[in-house]
């Protein structure tokens, strides 16, 4: 509107598409909105972005403060670093798959498995609690369960006479920690899958039956394909969850299991690697892996949303 633009040229630097529905002319209040969100972004810049940049930059810093790729290479070349990543990736994969599998079955059981309605809300509430009960107290809870003087240990010993710790068996290892991780992994799966299962409309099942299909056909051609993006996305979420866990691992297995997070934690408390640059590189490696997880998760969410409209 050329006629309009002339007098307004100085007050309308650009088209305010973000404003309320009607095409009101931009006025002062518009700038208040930016003031409103500025603190948030300032905080994010200072305390998320800058530290991340610092990690990134110092990954390339050698012991004598010159630029180097060696730290990054060390991740692949130094066997103990490589093993740390391998271990972390392993435990993340195992608990992601286990948590996804078991969590899905549980969600299915209470949503569509013919159980009374109360079971569902009870399970969801408890999953909400369990998925938040992580870290140190959880580790101790499992010590009290399966440790040397644990309840389950004593029950087994009392009923079968077998001391499961006799032959050097210990729960303070990879598999023991996996079991502990599962405590917050599969509730998370339940919490995300339950609404997804609810989204499976009854009519789809009925249409399938009407066209001659049975349970197999329904799950193979309709339900699983529809659920797959959510399943995958949540599994990735579980993976990232386990990968980034520190407190639980530290409290349960201490430094016995050389997970990436444990190593980085040790590095913070004392320069155990004798190479700050390497520490940064390991942290950077974590960021990269978590970012990949996030990307897959976002992709899966988009995919899932597209179909179920």
């Amino acid at each position: 509107m050329a006629v309009e633009r002339f007098p307004r040229a100085d007050t309308a630097p650009r088209q305010d598409k973000g404003d309320a529905p009607s095409a009101r002319p931009p006025r002062k209040p518009f700038s208040w909105a930016w003031v409103g969100v500025a603190p948030f972004f300032l905080f994010a810049f200072m305390f998320l972005f800058l530290p991340s940049v610092s990690i990134f930059l110092r990954s390339f810093e050698s012991l004598d403060h010159t630029f180097t790729f060696q730290n990054i290479l060390d991740i692949f070349q130094k066997s103990d670093i490589r093993n740390a990543y391998k271990l972390s990736l392993q435990i993340s994969t195992v608990t992601a798959i286990g948590g996804a599998f078991f969590g899905f079955l549980l969600a299915y059981a209470v949503c569509m498995g013919g159980l009374p309605k109360g079971a569902r809300s009870f399970l969801l509430t408890f999953s909400g609690v369990a998925s938040n009960f992580a870290g140190v107290p959880l580790a101790f809870a499992f010590v009290a369960t399966m440790g040397n003087a644990g309840l389950v240990t004593r029950i087994i010993e009392g009923s079968t006479g077998v001391d499961i710790h006799a032959g050097g068996f210990t729960i303070y290892n990879f598999w023991g920690l996996s079991i502990v991780y599962m405590y917050f992994q599969f509730p998370l799966m339940v919490l995300i899958m339950a609404p997804a299962l609810d989204g499976l409309r009854r009519e789809w099942r009925e249409a399938c039956e009407n066209l001659g299909g049975g349970t197999y056909h329904y799950w193979r051609y309709i339900a699983f394909p529809i659920l797959m993006p959510t399943l995958l996305g949540t599994a990735i979420l579980l993976f990232g969850n386990a990968f980034g866990a520190y407190a639980t691992a530290y409290a349960f297995t201490g430094s016995f299991l050389n997970l990436v997070t444990i190593v980085i934690g040790a590095q913070i408390q004392g320069d155990v690697l004798y190479n700050p640059g390497l520490g940064n590189a390991m942290a950077l490696g974590m960021i990269v892996i978590m970012s990949l997880c996030m990307l897959v998760y976002i992709w899966s969410q988009r995919r899932a949303a597209r179909w179920v409209r």
Partner: protein
């Protein structure tokens, strides 16, 4: 025995009876509508035919075979759902061919039948689209094609047009009828929209509170309803409480004004007769041989092809529908006028 027999079917959910003693015999190739308000049991009955509900009493026999206890995937019926229920993860083509895939037909057979169906619903190039890329009307057509692809003996439609805009509804209504007649497929159509039921059906089953009120062709239901519910549910209806002057001669009086009817006169409660009169039977002005009543215009609404005038006759207000004409002079509110209707245009019903 007809093609599809629903014999005295009932369905109760615990204490509540949703359908009671539903008895219907559908001929091959017929389109029968179940018409009624929400909760009248029409969808429940349809679902019994489809197999999603089991009747508590009664049997369902299709083409001589008792299917009452068969599971839905064994029956030879095709169903179109109100919410389309297209599988969102499959293309249109895959949706339509799904039933054939389950029946283990060859790829070529499936492809050919899918093409046939898509042509039938006039969407031949949309086979590769996904449901979320289609409009509501298109999705419903695909749902129809999907149900027909398996060549069922009976087609069931559960309020298929309720979720669509008015204009699409009218278009699609004719499409469905056209396809049904072309394929000569026995069809049951559930709706709460009486215009739909009247337009499409060979016969209509009017239901209320789980029971059948009346079964018949649209013309019969409209002009010769057997119960007050059917009379008032189907179409607009004037119900006038009149004094009986002479039952044998058919003379009645509405607030002092006398008129005649050729229908048998039956007294309701309190000795009055309930006279039913369709709006289109009333005319403005006098006519030879007709009944004449004087009244005052309450309101005039111009509906396009019809002009709807509310006239106060004594203490009652009647609705009069006149066909629009370009040189029609619309009466004004408060104007007094004479309305006329033929003696055979009204009938007397026993009261509630």
């Amino acid at each position: 025995m007809a093609f599809l027999d629903i014999n005295h079917a009932s369905k109760a959910f615990g204490e509540m009876s949703a359908v009671h003693d539903f008895d219907l015999h559908v001929e091959k190739g017929e389109l029968v509508s179940f018409l009624g308000p929400s909760g009248c049991g029409k969808t429940t009955t349809l679902r019994m035919v489809a197999g999603f509900e089991m009747p508590t009493n009664g049997t369902i026999v299709l083409n001589g075979k008792d299917i009452t206890n068969q599971s839905p995937n064994e029956r030879d019926v095709g169903m179109v759902f109100q919410a389309y229920a297209l599988f969102p993860n499959m293309t249109v083509g895959d949706n339509v061919g799904f039933g054939l895939k389950i029946a283990k037909k060859t790829k070529d057979e499936i492809a050919q039948r899918v093409q046939e169906m898509l042509s039938l619903i006039k969407m031949p190039e949309l086979g590769d689209r996904y449901p979320y890329q289609l409009s509501g009307g298109q999705q419903q057509r695909v749902a129809l094609a999907r149900a027909l692809a398996i060549q069922p003996q009976v087609l069931l439609l559960d309020e298929p047009l309720s979720a669509l805009d008015a204009k699409i509804r009218v278009e699609l209504r004719y499409e469905i009828r056209r396809i049904q007649q072309q394929l000569r497929i026995t069809t049951i159509y559930v709706t709460h929209d009486q215009e739909e039921a009247l337009t499409l059906s060979d016969r209509v089953v009017v239901m209320n509170a789980g029971r059948i009120e009346q079964i018949g062709p649209p013309f019969e239901l409209y002009n010769f309803p057997t119960t007050p519910f059917v009379a008032s549910f189907v179409g607009t209806l004037n119900q006038l409480r009149c004094k009986i002057m002479d039952a044998a001669a058919g003379r009645l009086s509405l607030d002092g004004q006398e008129f005649r009817t050729t229908s048998p006169v039956v007294a309701g409660r309190g000795g009055d007769a309930l006279v039913m009169l369709r709006p289109e039977e009333l005319h403005l002005g006098s006519q030879e041989g007709a009944n004449h009543l004087k009244g005052i215009v309450e309101s005039v609404a111009f509906l396009g092809s019809v002009v709807r005038i509310h006239v106060k006759l004594g203490s009652s207000i009647v609705t009069l529908d006149a066909l629009n004409e370009r040189n029609l002079k619309l009466p004004k509110t408060g104007e007094s006028l004479v309305v006329s209707f033929p003696p055979h245009g009204c009938w007397v019903m026993a009261g509630e």
